[in-house]
Symmetry: C2
Subunit: 208 residues, 2 copies
DNA sequence: GGCTTACTTTACCTTGGGTACAGTTCAGCA
DNA sequence: TGCTGAACTGTACCCAAGGTAAAGTAAGCC
């Protein structure tokens, strides 16, 4: 990843726009985050905004790409920590899920919510590139957990047949659903609890 | 000039507005469903719209209330059918979940998505009444499934302690998450599969 | 025949997402 | 020291969408 933009003056305006937009979009949604509000926040003019992003869609695209990179880094680190202490795939996965639940619980306030859902439910505001990026993000989670589940199933063949893709997708399902629930009920404890229930399902699915 | 085929005076205009709005909002989101589009669709003027609803929020409120009633009726009927054939609470719940998965699978195209999430992720567009209605809808699901789970746990005491509220909330979590996933991947088969996985968790949780 | 319901008509306001394009400021290089 | 290009500013204007305000009108009901 090379930094192609090495501007002279305010070198971080683009980044500050992205930061502010991310916060605002997660808090209020994309449609309700106005360009006016963003430029007021970072102290530039409307023309300045359009210098950095060709339109609002372009902003969404940049935001999503950055988010995906960040998310991947966090999950890589989480699994690294989970694998550090043992080499059993099932234990590793269970530890990772516990760490993940704890991580989600530590965000004391209601979790800002996931860009995936935010983008999904405002479909027509975005172009094909944004939709593709969104889908790719979900598929990355499927691949990550599917690989883990394959390793687990190999070591601990399940007593009943299990749909491993569906089981892998359930992670994303629970995160997205848990965030919606947490938002609807204004209760941030829901998501971590749901993750632990998923952990339970994994444990029971591969128990000897 | 008078158009005799479309009488000036109709009694179902409000209903037709709600129907069209529901379809449009589920397909495109609330923010992107314009009043202009709705009035063009039902053939009235803008003032006509504001005669029926004081503003867009009022439309959302009416829509949500109608949706909640409809949803409740559907679930009542589903559980009635599930209970018809047996009187074991666990079997009844498992049958209901299978029926529910089948129901979701039968909506061939990508399911329109749930109003709860749609409303959640566009928070600031709505007032307190809408948020309260939304939360109430989720709580209704919790109560419904919590009652079922209580009956199951009474008959089949779980071997390990189970958080029954979280387990009840997991239904909503999976529906909301499954819809988001289905939308992101344009794959309507995801939600039914996730519901069946949940069914599996229930089965395993109360297995003797 | 009068009241109510269900609108229409006209006119105007504000916010927000742009487009267009000319001008300005400053860092770094040659 | 002056030129270039990146990062903007400023001005001006367009269109869509969500309203607001208020008067008028046609049809149905008692």
């Amino acid at each position: 990843m090379l930094d192609t933009t090495t501007p002279r003056r305010r070198t971080d305006t683009r980044k500050r726009l992205l930061d502010l937009a991310e916060r605002s979009i997660l808090a209020k949604g994309f449609a309700s985050t106005s360009i006016d509000e963003l430029i007021a926040g970072v102290g530039i003019t409307k023309s300045g905004f359009f210098y950095h992003f060709k339109d609002k869609n372009d902003l969404a695209r940049a935001l999503l790409r950055r988010h995906l990179d960040h998310e991947r880094a966090i999950m890589d680190e989480l699994f690294r920590r989970a694998d550090e202490l043992n080499d059993d795939p099932l234990h590793g996965l269970l530890i990772a899920l516990r760490l993940f639940a704890e991580m989600m619980a530590e965000l004391e306030e209601v979790h800002p919510g996931c860009l995936v859902a935010t983008l999904c439910y405002q479909d027509q505001l975005f172009d094909q590139t944004v939709h593709a990026l969104n889908a790719e993000s979900v598929l990355a989670w499927r691949r990550r957990f599917r690989a883990r589940l394959d390793a687990v199933a190999k070591r601990y063949p399940p007593s009943e047949p299990v749909d491993l893709d569906a089981l892998a997708d359930m992670v994303s399902t629970i995160i997205e659903g848990g965030l919606v629930m947490g938002r609807a009920l204004k209760d941030p404890s829901i998501l971590p609890k749901q993750i632990l229930l998923y952990r339970d399902l994994i444990r029971r699915s591969f128990a000897r």
